[in-house]
Every structure is written in structure tokens, then in C-alpha cells.
Amino acid sequence: MPITELNHYLLVAKNLERTRNFYQKVLGLKLSDERPDFGFPGYWLKAGEHICVHLASQAPNRIRDQFLLKKHPKGTRGSGSVDHIAFLAKKAEEVRKRIQKHGIEMHYRSFPESGLFQIFLKDPDDVTIELNFLGEVIDENAWRGKGSASAVTLSKSRGRRTAARRQN
């Protein structure tokens, strides 16, 4: 069973600090210090041991828009501020083939240094779904063109800021 569990949702918040405060004070979630540098501001929050809420900000940010596949306008409210729902998954090659077989557009996101590979896709109602393959590193060259509409690799460039490298 390649897709194994529901993992998190990402909220693009109107006010990042107030939203973090709500999840901490009202719902009692804990701030995680495990969030990698994505090149845009945000937080990860934990319920128990599970990081299940990801926050980003509505403040304009080009890397965020590129990463999340869409431009996030200011002033979005309600469930429209939820950007995506994420699942954990295993066997990236198997899942990629399954999605490609159904002719569904995919976007790859790679974090080779953290051992994380992601596939983003849209459901029939245009909801963004993120699949996380923990500990899986794919061969970018072997995967090029195999059903991916875009591919982004994030890596630290010699102690400087996170850089995003685009294909397609």
C-alpha cells in the first residue's frame, strides 16, 4: 500500500504570528524546530509527536509561489487559505507509474540533503495533494520527462541561503 497515512495540511496565513499563536495557545500544539529552510517564512506545529500543521504567510514570496505551484493572493479566507493536504507514501517509482498511467499531471520536489522526495498533484476539484516519500532520493535524470510538469530541487549552496533549481 504505497500511500500510507494522512500527514499534514498547509495553511497560507493572513497573519503568520497570530495564526501560530492560535494553534499554540488555543489548540495546544507545540512549535517544532525541525522545519527545513524552504526559502520562505513559516512554522511547523506538532500534536503529540506528529507534525501536522504547516504554516506559511500570505506576504508575497516568489519561492513560496514556485514551491506551492500557485500564486497566493492576500486576503484569502476560510478553507481557501488551506494550500494542500499531505500524505506519507512509500515506493516513489511505483506511485509515479500509477499516477502517470492515469494521465495526471505531477510536480516533483526534491530535498536530496534531507532525504525527502515529494510529488504534488491535483484532485478532480483542483485540491493540491502532496505525497511525501521519506528517505527516498530519486535519480533526477532518470525521472526527467516521466510525467512531470515541473521539478524543483532545493539544496543548501555552501552555507548560503536555500537555492531552488528548476527543471521543465
Binding site: K25, A47, G80
Partner: protein, 154 residues
């Protein structure tokens, strides 16, 4: 009042069958049992866990659905079709006291044949609806009663 983990999301769609089929075919989920909410729903499972709940959406949702859940958005595409996100939690009585102390409004719902007790509240910054899902046993032990039960809908 700890929230233990993320439990499920509810998507509202204008095409229940197509949405169900897509999650089954593209992502390998399976359709599984769900309680009788008196409005149409599909529950999608990974292993033994329901992770996505799907109900009707758009402009023509049923009155029972509106009474039980409300409707956040009549959007038919994009993240506006996500009605709410649910967490599994323990410590119902403490959470109710905590929310009252903070002056945060919430609704109480119960699905009697599933042993499920729900609190619904809004993240006030972004207006996102959050469900906190407890066991019925916890509510019964604390003598807490909901405002509305699914079995009360006709």
C-alpha cells in the same frame, strides 16, 4: 486537552462518484464504512484509518448537511472545497473549559452510532473550521451532551 494527531479532512464536491473514484484509482485509497449522517458521504481509508471524508458541495448541499456541519464555502474548485480539518483529541471536558475561558465559540455534535463526539471551532485569523474529535465514552463519563445528534436529523 491534548490534540493527539491529525485525523481527517472533509472535502465537498459537486461530483461525489468522480472524487471517490479518483482517490481510489490514483492514490490507492479504499472506500470503507461510515456512520449514517442523514446526508450522503463517502469515507476513504488508508489501511484501517479513514483519512478523507467526502460530501456534496457547491450551491445545492442538503439541509441536513447544513444543519449538522454548516457550509464554509460554495467553491467548486481549489482549496475552498476543503470544509474542515479534524484532529483526534482527548480531554474533552478540559478543552470545553479552556475554550470557554478564552471566549472562543464552538459547536458540539455527536454521531451516536460511531462513538464519536465532536467540537467544531474556527481559527479566527483565517476563518478555517477545525474539528476536534473525541470518543463518545469520554463525553458520557463527563455528562456532556451535544446540541445536535446526527440521529436527530430526518
Amino acid at each position: 486537552m491534548p490534540l493527539e494527531r491529525i485525523d481527517h479532512c472533509l472535502l465537498q464536491t459537486t461530483d461525489l462518484a468522480a472524487t471517490r473514484d479518483w482517490y481510489v484509482k490514483a492514490l490507492g485509497m479504499r472506500v470503507g464504512p461510515h456512520p449514517d449522517f442523514k446526508f450522503p458521504v463517502v469515507w476513504l481509508y488508508l489501511g484501517d484509518k479513514d483519512v478523507l471524508h467526502v460530501s456534496g458541495g457547491g450551491a445545492r448541499v442538503s439541509e441536513n448537511r447544513k444543519r449538522y456541519l454548516g457550509q464554509e464555502s460554495q467553491a467548486e474548485a481549489g482549496s475552498g472545497v476543503i470544509d474542515h480539518i479534524a484532529f483526534y483529541a482527548t480531554g474533552l471536558k478540559q478543552m470545553i473549559e479552556h475554550l470557554r475561558r478564552l471566549g472562543i465559540p464552538f459547536q458540539q455534535r455527536m454521531v451516536n452510532d460511531q462513538g464519536l463526539y465532536q467540537l467544531f471551532l474556527k481559527d479566527p485569523v483565517n476563518d478555517v473550521k477545525i474539528e476536534l474529535s473525541y470518543t463518545n465514552a469520554e463525553a458520557a463519563a463527563a455528562g456532556i451532551r451535544p446540541e445536535l445528534m446526527a440521529s436527530g436529523l430526518r
